[in-house]
């Protein structure tokens, strides 16, 4: 799958919440777009990531 523009190999599907925890993302500071759709936080424990997915994990930074 693709995460933030980088290719990642998923050996098996993984729950979104577990993927984020495993990769040290701070869930309170991010927003997820999966295959063009915004995923609300209450769905993080039910959405399954698969190898064809394209995901963006975004957060706020300083900007003008």
């Amino acid at each position: 799958m693709k995460v933030n523009g980088k290719n990642i190999t998923l050996t098996k599907s993984i729950i979104l919440n577990d993927f984020l925890k495993k990769n040290d993302y701070n869930i309170n500071r991010i927003v997820i777009e999966l295959n063009g759709e915004i995923i609300s936080k209450d769905k993080y424990n039910t959405v399954n990531l698969k190898d064809t997915d394209v995901m963006e994990v975004l957060s706020f930074v300083g900007g003008g």
Binding site: N26, R29, I30, V31, I38, V57
Partner: protein, 263 residues
Amino acid sequence: MKQKKENIADDKLVIAGHEFNSRFILGSGKFSLDLIKAAIETAGAEIITLALRRANTKTEYNILDFIPKNVTLLPNTSGARTAEEAVRIARLSRELGCGDFVKIEVINDSKYLLPNNYETVKATEILAKEGFVVMPYMYPDINIARDLVNAGAATIMPLAAPIGSNLGLLTKHFIKIIIDEIKLPVIVDAGIGSPAQACEIMQEGAAAVMINTAIATANDIKEMAEAFKLAIQAGRKAYLAGLGRVLNFKAEASSPLIDFLED
């Protein structure tokens, strides 16, 4: 210059029904995290802009950890080159749970960073319908300003000079036209390089100014934030007080013309 009637005793900045005491909007770009909190507090800013970017798992801290809780967050759509991209960024920003404010910034010119006014109007119309408080950053064109009002913008944000340039009020006359003709708050954003320039445009009736680079590139960031705060307050007071008339072709004595001491 036409001066709008203002209630001096209760002079708040009102954006889509939200009231603010401060007319100083601070951009958070180009600051190190340890300085941003000090800058916000010294500036007395109640609105801070942010950008949305791909998350970096390696950074321990997030900018939200350094912004005081009572401050209104104003995510920008920087990175957007079209209305569609701006809308996407705005929706993602809102999902982060930081309110409905959005600054529309649509730029497809990477040299001068001048905004695309037409795409900005398109994005404004879509996002206003979705309940965003839309604050569009634009090149000062009175026709586009009117289109933005019709599209549902909450403010108009004309640029003074190119982003990051510190060049000052290059577009001053065209900003004044917008201030005179548009009833929405006019917030001057980009290019202001000194407190004197911020004071000057506030004196002309701008509702607020946005400053970023002028503070981030100053020798003493905290002191410069305070200088801007005072200048913005001074400019607003001068506007409300009403500037005196200007005599172009003659002088008028300030001391009495009678009872001179003479032989």
